[in-house]
């Protein structure tokens, strides 16, 4: 059911890429024209927002990121891995209020907090009590908590909902830049993209999705860059079977991706941090936190250059700190620092009024440290939301402290806020979804009025 390839707009895009200054101007024009032509028919005005989901695989320790330094049980339970309370020096918590502070490695995020565009929910999570990474990730990515049957990813379902709405709106309209759009056409690659070669569950489903590999592989065209070999290869995939259609789709999107990223690389001055990220991404296993910065850079470029892309996904692993977690410094601290750098980059690239970035993980970790100066699998965790539409500069939701009788099974943070209810709050505003659409996305999930203050109306 893939829509026909939109040859007109692709040529226009390529032409646009060739004229460098026009590339920078075009997105602004596009954004302006958007509100005129391509609003979704359901939902609120102009809520054609972009959403980026950052998934930390392996259950990151939120209690080390948003530090409850005001709770004495935090220090009682973590003699070796707690972050020291704020005293204005480097290796201590950066106070946000009387209860919470940021890990010192999150210092780059402090300006965002103060600007009011960054918020945290310290006790969000899945209502399902599983402590299996893989099961919990599956719940998070499908939104179908407790189910094991094959389900699509919720980001894919969301893409489908939006594409339906777009297709129904204004067929044959042209945008402000004068490019004629074919009736009801959405680019063959869809409106959602992810970084990573294997199909992440969150993006799997019937809506077309663009998947770009992690790291520098994304910038290479390979054999398709040579006309002769390209023709020969495309001749193998000329049929109407699923594999052939998928191949052709991949060939197109890959060439565009490489073009876009290489254009960007030519135009952007060298940044030491980015070069390090490139080097490290080339050296490390893809999917590490250090590689996240490069992936985020690619995501940012591709979503900026192709305004059809409204939903983005990246992930990073290496958070499963069972041993020797460290505190203000050490293993986890380094990962948090890399994450902070990536989030700063994301904020820079996604700072339009209706852009939102979400950072989440499949569950949290034990409130107390274990026998090997690390933490084990837990339950509730800190979820971060970033964007102009967010009531930032504060944390949201219920917090009962870390006294043992307040903990889930006497060991973990409880889940006070179902992540789907959090998503519902965000998507209502950011994506203009109505109640029916939210139910379609997350069947059976109740509205959480306690979080009505999370987003600016």
């Amino acid at each position: 059911m893939t829509p026909d390839h939109d040859g007109v707009s692709r040529r226009a895009l390529v032409r646009g890429l060739m004229a460098a200054p026009a590339v920078w101007a075009a997105p602004v024009l596009w954004a302006q024209s958007r509100s005129g032509g391509h609003r979704s028919t359901a939902g609120r005005d102009g809520q054609d927002g972009r959403l980026v989901v950052v998934f930390l695989r392996g259950a990151y320790d939120g209690l080390s990121a948003l530090v409850p330094y005001g709770d004495r049980h935090y220090y009682a339970g973590r003699p070796n891995i707690a972050i020291a309370p704020p005293d204005g020096t480097q290796q201590t918590t950066l106070a946000l209020d009387a209860m919470f502070g940021l890990h010192p490695a999150f210092a780059p995020l402090m300006p965002l907090w103060k600007q009011g565009v960054l918020a945290a929910l310290p006790t969000a999570g899945s209502p399902h009590a599983t402590r299996s990474h893989f099961e919990a990730q599956y719940h998070w990515e499908t939104g179908a908590v407790g189910e094991r049957s094959a389900r699509p990813g919720w980001l894919n379902t969301l893409a489908g909902l939006r594409m339906q709405a777009q297709g129904a709106a204004a067929p044959g309209a042209s945008d402000g830049a004068g490019r004629q759009r074919a009736s009801g056409a959405v680019p063959v690659q869809g409106i959602a993209m992810g970084i990573g070669e294997a199909n992440p569950q969150i993006l799997s489903g019937t809506a077309p999705v663009q998947l770009v590999p992690k790291g520098q592989a994304a910038t290479r065209q390979g054999a398709l860059g040579n006309g002769r070999t390209r023709d020969a290869v495309m001749g193998l995939y000329a049929g109407n079977d699923e594999l052939s259609r998928m191949f052709r789709q991949g060939a197109d999107s890959r060439m565009q991706t490489a073009d876009t990223l290489n254009q960007e690389a030519m135009q952007t001055p060298d940044e030491p941090a980015l070069n390090t990220a490139k080097m490290v991404a080339a050296n490390n296993g893809a999917g590490s936190v250090r590689g996240l910065l490069l992936d985020v850079q690619h995501l940012s470029t591709l979503m900026r250059q192709n305004q059809h892309l409204r939903l983005g996904f990246v992930s990073a692993g290496g958070w499963d700190t069972h041993a020797n977690q460290g505190n203000a410094t050490g293993l986890l601290a380094r990962s948090l620092g890399d994450l902070a750098a990536a989030l700063v980059q994301l904020r820079a690239a996604f700072s339009q009024p209706n852009d939102v970035v979400l950072v989440c993980s499949e569950f949290g970790r034990t409130a107390q440290e274990n026998g090997t100066r690390g933490t084990d699998h837990g339950h509730g965790n800190t979820l971060w939301v970033m964007g102009n539409q967010v009531q930032g500069g504060r944390w949201h939701g219920q917090w009962d402290g870390l006294a043992p009788d307040q903990l889930h099974e006497q060991r973990d943070l409880p889940v006070h806020h179902d992540f789907r209810a959090v998503l519902a709050q965000v998507l209502r505003v950011n994506q203009g979804l109505d109640a029916a659409q939210l139910q379609a996305l997350f069947p059976g999930v109740a509205w959480d009025k306690r979080l009505d203050g999370l987003m600016r109306a």
Binding site: F134, L224, M246, S253, D320
Partner: protein, 526 residues
């Protein structure tokens, strides 16, 4: 433990002797390798078989191994039935698993005795301190990324010891998968399956030196044996003990070195139940996880013992424990190291384990959504034989579902890479060189399936939903075209190729055809 003999494959054994030794001869005439070194179909083999026979042969070679070579194809087609050939591989694979692997002399350190590996690892730590490398251990490079020819063999700097071993291990796996004359195809397949099921991650610094040894001496050695023996060997190996932090686990409150108070680490116990045996619905609780962790306290590494394993009684929790309703600890009379053995065997013999492993085998060999009847049959065989893999594999390879054309399997990146290597290698008498192995490792890394590089203990999925992605397909064609750029057209592949693909390929210049055949849709399925 299987002792290791290292053979110089290039010079020492003639190909014919090797084929004979591996039980792969028989049926096919000897002169498969023409004087020019390129593979030709022997003239005494019938000119054509039925489509069904070719399809069955393709399936047999691609699933029970990593795809056809000229020699393998001739052999399988000459057999009474490809299915029968497949069945014969069970005993052949077992026999070979009891013999040392064929590893080139100068790249065999990764499988050397554990005490030597420990020593090299220690020297590496000291060398690194000396060299004062900035990157900390947990962010050090994934080994396959930086593979270079010299890194495989020559005496390198001591601070690159574990990386070199990891690269050697990866090279061996690729060669074993792509050269049926080096390793029995089914043995290579089951080495992959079991390594993935009992996954360890070469990117974790403390485990890295041991991953190759683990692949050879734990996984390969027990691949066709009894599951509980494999599981126990895995539980006692430094690679696993480090990977899932078991070495750090101790009875709560016990004193470590420098008087440091130590405690329990649940990581291995959890994954042992969740992933290695019962599965997440297998009926264990959080309490069981903790109790099992208590049972396993004291299981740690020994740098001196040839087994690499030591039971540290001093940090073992001697109290009473209860795992899934079964008592362990001093109240039951069993104690110490035996407790852990007993617990692991108990988990291995649990019906949920039979179910879980049978399902994974059916997904690996038959279909992404395997028929339930097949899974149950395999599970019954597994339980009845206490996890005898030969019995289970015979059951699987004789099942009609295995040969049903409707049960399609899309190749993973690893399948694709090894089958492409096998074809290209098949057409030449030269060994696969380091540069090709490097390219292959890089392809796998970019595709998201680096050798020994899956970060999490669940291992990778093998279904089409995971690996069939638009841009990923184009990267396969890149790899195929590069790999085969100097290869002659593999005539032996033509009978397996559809008319449409042959037509498209034949339109192109001869020099491109090998790569195009490997890049074609036909080559994407097994």
């Amino acid at each position: 433990m299987v002792s290791m003999t290292v053979v110089n494959v290039q010079g020492g054994l003639s190909r014919r002797r090797m084929l004979g030794a591996l039980g792969l001869l028989g049926g096919a005439p000897a002169a498969v390798w023409a004087a020019t070194g390129s593979a030709v179909m022997p003239s005494s083999v019938p000119a054509a078989h039925s489509d069904a026979r070719y399809a069955q042969a393709w399936r047999a070679m691609s699933r029970v191994g990593y795809g056809p070579t000229a020699a393998l194809s001739a052999q399988v087609l000459a057999a009474h039935e490809p299915r029968l050939w497949a069945l014969q591989q069970v005993d052949a694979a077992y026999a070979q698993s009891q013999k040392p692997p064929l590893i080139d002399t100068d790249t065999a350190d990764f499988a050397m005795p554990l005490p030597l590996i420990f020593e090299g690892a220690q020297q590496e730590r000291q060398a690194r301190v000396r060299v004062k490398q900035a990157t900390a251990e947990q962010t050090s490079p994934s080994p396959v990324r930086r593979m270079g020819k010299k890194d495989l063999a020559d005496a390198p700097e001591p601070e690159h010891f574990s990386r070199r071993l990891a690269m050697q291990a990866a090279a061996w796996r690729l060669l074993a998968a792509s050269e049926p004359e080096r390793e029995n195809p089914l043995l290579a397949r089951l080495t992959e399956f079991w390594f993935n099921h009992l996954n360890v991650f070469a990117g974790k610094g403390s485990a890295r030196p041991f991953v190759g040894h683990y692949a050879v001496h734990v996984i390969r050695a027990h691949a066709l044996g009894r599951f509980e023996d494999l599981l126990l060997a895995s539980a006692r190996h430094p690679a696993m003990l480090h990977y899932l932090d078991q070495v750090q686990s101790a009875a709560e409150g016990s004193r470590g070195m420098q008087g440091r108070v130590r405690g329990l680490n649940e990581n291995y116990a959890r994954e042992l139940m969740e992933l290695h045996t019962l599965g997440v619905q297998g009926g264990y609780s959080q309490t069981d996880v903790r109790e099992l962790a208590r049972v396993l306290t004291g299981w740690t590494v020994s740098p001196q013992d040839p087994s690499g394993f030591r039971f540290a009684a001093r940090v073992h929790d001697t109290g009473a424990k209860r795992v899934m309703g079964v008592a362990f600890g001093d109240t039951s009379g069993r104690g110490g190291e035996q407790e852990g053995d007993d617990a692991i065997r108990m988990l291995a013999r649990h019906p949920a384990t039979a179910q879980r492993i049978s399902r994974r085998l059916a997904q690996f060999f038959v279909a992404d959504q395997p028929p339930e009847a097949l899974v149950q049959r395999l599970s019954a065989t597994f339980s009845r034989t206490q996890g005898d893999m030969r019995a289970v594999m015979r059951e699987l390879l004789q099942a009609p579902q295995m040969w049903d054309a409707d049960n399609r399997l899309f190749k993973t990146p690893l399948d694709f890479a090894c089958s492409a290597l096998a074809v290209v290698r098949s057409g030449t008498s030269e060994a696969t060189d380091g540069r090709t192995l490097l390219q292959t490792a890089r392809f796998l890394h970019d595709a998201g399936q680096p050798l020994h590089g899956w970060q999490t203990p669940d291992g990778y999925a093998t279904d089409a939903a995971t690996w069939m992605a638009p841009e990923a397909l184009t990267r396969r064609t890149d790899f195929a075209l590069t790999l085969a750029r100097n290869a002659a057209e593999p005539a032996f592949l033509r009978p397996y190729t559809s008319a449409a693909t042959l037509e498209a390929v034949d339109r192109q210049p001869a020099a491109m055809r090998a790569g195009l055949m490997l890049a074609s849709p036909d080559f994407m399925y097994k």
